[in-house]
Symmetry: C2
Subunit: 349 residues, 2 copies
Amino acid sequence: MHVNVVFNPTASSKDYTVFIDELQTLCFDTKVMIVTNTTVAALHLETLKARLHVKTLHTVILPDGEQYKNFESLHCILNACFEHRLDRKSLLIAFGGGVIGDMTGFAASIYQRGIDFIQIPTTLLAQVDASVGGKTGINNDYGKNLIGTFWQPRAVYCESAFLKTLPHREFAAGVAEIVKMAVTFDRDFFAWLETHDLHVDQNLAEAIRKSIAIKARVVAQDETEQGVRAVLNYGHTFAHVIENQTAYSVYLHGEAVAIGMVMANTLAKSLDLLSQEDALRIQTLLRRYDLPTHYDVPSSEAFYEAFFLDKKSANDTIKFILPQGIGNYAMRNDIPKETVLRALKGDHV
Amino acid sequence: MHVNVVFNPTASSKDYTVFIDELQTLCFDTKVMIVTNTTVAALHLETLKARLHVKTLHTVILPDGEQYKNFESLHCILNACFEHRLDRKSLLIAFGGGVIGDMTGFAASIYQRGIDFIQIPTTLLAQVDASVGGKTGINNDYGKNLIGTFWQPRAVYCESAFLKTLPHREFAAGVAEIVKMAVTFDRDFFAWLETHDLHVDQNLAEAIRKSIAIKARVVAQDETEQGVRAVLNYGHTFAHVIENQTAYSVYLHGEAVAIGMVMANTLAKSLDLLSQEDALRIQTLLRRYDLPTHYDVPSSEAFYEAFFLDKKSANDTIKFILPQGIGNYAMRNDIPKETVLRALKGDHV
């Protein structure tokens, strides 16, 4: 099965397809370079290579981890491109999780002013979220993804086979992003998630397809996040600060998003956008997958200040994405600082 | 006077206007950061600042020279963006020659996945060529502009006042790019150049307008250089190798392009694309502005090999842009190596 990501019909060169469990053999008559990490390479690189028929194949293997999503790794990828004399028709393959996908996409977007790349995401989070939509980037001392581009892949291949080896925490981190899509865009999907265990293969495939369909619809409407795409940041405004304050070493991104959603819910409740009952339903679903839902804010003032380093804070205002009931959202940039501080201090449920 | 750069009408958000001698007062209600170099800052920064009315204004002053068109300078610009907390609505102003324009555009394209920038070019070369078309980039050990993006400015302001302080060599380097436009696209313009001295203010303004109009037409047709835009690289395939072999320290870019055009002409003559008479007309025009037209190729083989590191060499073939008479061009990727080597060894005229 697959999902088509169709941008404005006139800009059709950007359109691409997300294939789900359809990766058989890929043939290319150009130079191809796989970018992956040590973990994925050990588990799945040979499987992937066996499916590729290409003119010249190179591989770059980076260390595994969010802490390597930086300029040094970007340089590693770019230098490999130069050493192997990749040209403007060459192709990069991002083979790994969101970190590999974001960095490979970024490298592809700036190597010789832009070459093609395809995504073969190997984590649940990357399959349902990071690999679709063309956001690329790296982290730096100021925060996450603060340097990057919008650069769409030529195609995305989501293979459930690659998820079999995923540790429990990483699986749950992906579930958090699935829950995010449901809470903001699809009440029925949320109810379905409450009654279907994603550890069952068939349920998981269906949830992946639904999440990608939601995301594809959103990013095709608004590639560069001028409007509705920002809704996908539900939970992320808080998550970015949490990840930054914990030096990206305590929580997986999806875990921080789970906490961030619960924090956003507290704010939404204080504004009467979300009922206590719906907030509990969301928290219960997250906890069923052992996701964390609480973060001890060391200083509300410092936490609030840190929002302003987030990309989404244009002109010194913060745009909060909040659930309006389950299945709908509100974008608010008019929330008084005092209200936010109270929510940050409050109990999150 | 001004020239509109109109992309595909459906992608109208990329369109912008090149204003020629129309810069009065610019008002912005966002944060603005000027990027310039020491030379331009000393001569013209106060003049520019007096014309800007903005909410918050910051300035980054980089060292002057092509050797600073690298990752370090890019980091300088990006770090200043972070320190001044520029957001997604902020604006960069590139105030300088091609080096400043290319780096500022690149920084704008990757800061928070892309913010706006405008070009205020202060060299003739940047006014007629570099500032229009959205090519951004930096150099590295492998060559020129090998890392970069396509990122269109919001507007370009070409002011003749800023050219008054231009050294003679820099002025001539800009003339080389004007000659390039004429040779490849406009026979009448070339004949006009043969009879009009560009040191006369009125002639210069007209030549700038004509060159920008040609360039705007070409890049609007083919933003990312899939086709006709490559014609603007006439002379550049050779120039990039010359600049690389001389460590960017002997020739200005426009000077290397002048030599590169003459070398391309030699190749064009050997293929019967260009007559000896037309080749001489081009060389004569270049020499009238004291532009260099000869380079001692140390090794034809090494020079030929270096072509393959150029971005334009897709899949191990080299695409040469050659004049077909004056006012027309040929794109050729089928020229035998021996023919090229002979031209590299031959006398260039």
